[in-house]
């Protein structure tokens, strides 16, 4: 018995250690670069001789050519991510409620059509999306990126929320109807409070999706003060001699909010995103 346990643990470690290394080595390099002075950044040492926070000073005080709009761009990333999270949440919650609880005719078809869009890679849709945004005169507006990301995030969010909604007992709706609730009251007073864990998960998911987005942000936004930080980071590589240590310091700053959000909501993330994965 004990031998079997040991064997099981050994196997787990055999998988776990490479996965952990695989995940952590890039992070390690990120941190290593971020705290190295410029001249020793690529020296190949495992730990810099003179670790420094100089690079962060450069970033926060916008002391580099590439970082002239750091705070604005960080603000853009934040505003766009929050807007995407909020709008997606609104759209997906209403859709899931209508499909799952009000049983709107054709609701299921609409949801399946929306999910079908995932058969086409987002990159394929980038140019049509660009064209569409141009038609609406939204190019170079941060709204174009918000709307594009809402479009991309919504189908999955609707599906997750619909699965979670389906699990709520139907009798609750009936009891509320008999108690005199209108559909809006049902939505507000019964449905929303019970959906909170899934709503947090879905909101976080879409927020992070928008925060991490590069391609669409790169395509749809061009003015330097409209850019998100993800695109601004990419622009570091435009020169032959990229300031790697500053890039990595900025990257580290950029990576912290998602980590914090994930850590804060991980309880909901795990239960929310797997809700509906299995039929219970």
């Amino acid at each position: 018995m004990r031998k079997k346990q040991l064997l099981d643990e050994a196997r787990l470690l055999l998988v776990g250690i490479p996965v952990a290394l695989w995940t952590l080595i890039p992070v390690y390099h990120l941190v290593l670069f971020a705290i190295s002075p410029r001249d020793t950044a690529t020296s190949g040492r495992l730990w810099p001789e003179n670790p420094t926070l100089q690079n962060f000073d450069t970033v926060f005080n916008q002391k580099h050519f590439y970082l002239n709009h750091f705070w604005v761009q960080l603000g853009n990333s934040l505003a766009i991510a929050l807007a995407v999270g909020a709008i997606t949440l609104f759209v997906a919650t209403c859709a899931a409620f209508a499909i799952s609880r009000l049983r709107v005719r054709g609701g299921r078809t609409v949801m399946n059509l929306a999910l079908f869009t995932y058969f086409i890679p987002a990159a394929f849709l980038a140019v049509p999306m660009y064209k569409t945004m141009a038609n609406y005169g939204l190019l170079n507006s941060r709204w174009s990126l918000v709307l594009a990301m809402v479009t991309i995030a919504s189908p999955y969010c609707i599906w997750v929320l619909k699965q979670a909604s389906d699990k709520l007992p139907w009798e609750l709706d009936e009891a509320a109807r008999i108690d005199g609730a209108s559909p809006m009251q049902l939505f507000r007073l019964v449905y929303l409070p019970l959906m909170v864990p899934s709503l947090v998960a879905v909101g976080t998911y879409s927020l992070l999706l928008a925060w991490n987005e590069y391609l669409y942000a790169f395509l749809l936004l061009s003015k330097e003060t409209d850019l998100t930080l993800a695109v601004a980071l990419g622009n570091f590589l435009a020169a032959d001699d990229s300031p790697w240590e500053v890039l990595m310091a900025t990257g580290l700053v950029y990576a912290l909010p998602p980590a914090a959000i994930y850590y804060a909501f991980k309880r909901y993330m795990v239960s929310g995103l797997t809700a509906g994965a299995v039929k219970s």
């Binding site: 009936e174 009891a175 109807r177 008999i178 108690d179 005199g180 009251q185």
Partner: protein, 349 residues
């Protein structure tokens, strides 16, 4: 309080008709139990009265007002669900006051009515708790409290005791009955448990396959079941039924002659002969039988005996010395027999 009328009510799901024209009236203040095996349409009928299912044909009226096109919330009814359907994110107090809150009642009125209902149901100490912190029986009482607070015209109960254990079920049964005697609100109660129906109802509506088989007081149904289905459904243990032919004023079946009330049945007619287990007794003279199982329950003893190829149940008061394998004689009164037409299953006489 209100009367309720069903007039030739039909219900179809797609092409399948599950209720084939149901009609009966419920008087003001009456406690009516709809009983029948699963799939008989009793819950569907209740849900149609509640406004949760559309009425395919016919009319349902509450206090002579046809409610077919009325929304559930405008029918002034309250319903207790099998699964309780308490709002998990609200305390007992909020659950019970929810309908009044939706009606925008004054907070003082909500508090007063919730407190009153809580006192009736002994929930005073639990008002601040959430449903997950309550036992099954307590949840059931909260569900009833939610209904009482409304002071509705009609109470609807949809198998409210099915999720409770046997002991609690008996206790809640008495509580619901006491509640009805106190409030005198018209009540429609659905169950598949005929004992619940017998003990609680003023009148029972026995349903089967989407039709009403018989309507009557519990003892009427027990003493004079109108057809074979009701005869076998009402009463526990179930009535003994076997088929035979009418010959010379008695029924010949299982190799024996069973007494008939005078003048019943035509000579040679095939009939189903029924006798309740409590109406059979062991005697010195009578139909020969062999005991196969003896089940003492203390106050009564249940015997399974074999007559010919048929097993019959006999319930006798007190205890007995008979053992499995013993030969016994069964006696019965002709007046206690129930005779049904062999083809239609309808009661004769």
């Amino acid at each position: 309080m209100a009367s309720v009328s069903f007039r030739n009510v039909k219900k179809s799901f797609g092409k399948v008709e599950v209720l084939h024209g149901v009609g009966f009236d419920i008087a003001d203040g009456e406690f009516v139990v709809l009983v029948g095996p699963s799939g008989c349409g009793k819950s569907t009928l209740l849900r149609m009265l509640a406004g949760l299912e559309e009425i395919s044909a016919g009319e349902i009226a509450i206090d002579d007002r046809v409610v077919n096109d009325l929304d559930a919330k405008d029918r002034d009814i309250a319903m207790v669900f099998q699964s309780y359907a308490l709002y998990p994110h609200m305390t007992v107090r909020e659950n019970m006051g929810f309908s009044l809150r939706l009606r925008k009642a004054a907070q003082s009125e909500i508090d007063a009515r919730v407190a009153n209902a809580a006192r009736i149901l002994n929930l005073d100490q639990l008002l601040h708790r959430y449903p997950r912190e309550l036992s099954g029986g307590q949840r059931q009482r909260v569900a009833m409290g939610r209904a009482i607070v409304r002071d509705p015209k009609v109470f609807l109960f949809d198998e409210p005791l099915s999720n409770l254990d046997a002991k609690l079920r008996v206790a809640m049964r008495a509580e619901i009955k006491a509640l009805h005697q106190r409030l005198k609100t018209t009540t429609v109660y659905v169950t598949h448990d005929q004992i619940e129906a017998m003990t609680m109802a003023d009148r029972i509506v026995v349903m089967h396959d989407g039709i009403v088989e018989q309507i009557g007081t519990p003892l009427e149904l027990f003493d004079r079941p109108g057809n074979l289905f009701v005869a076998q459904f009402i009463g526990s243990p179930a009535m003994n039924v076997f088929s035979g032919q009418v010959r010379a004023g008695a029924v010949e079946a299982l190799g024996a002659r069973w007494p008939l009330p005078a003048g019943l049945g035509a000579e040679g007619q095939t009939v189903s002969y029924g006798i309740r287990p409590t109406d059979l007794r062991l005697a010195d003279e009578g139909v020969a039988a062999t005991v196969s199982i003896v089940e003492p329950t203390g106050a009564e003893t249940e015997l399974l005996v074999e007559v010919g190829s048929q097993q019959l149940t006999v319930v006798m008061h007190g205890r007995t010395a008979v053992r499995p394998g013993d030969g016994v004689k069964l006696a019965l009164d002709a007046a206690k027999s129930h005779v049904f037409d062999g083809a239609s299953g309808q009661r004769i006489g």
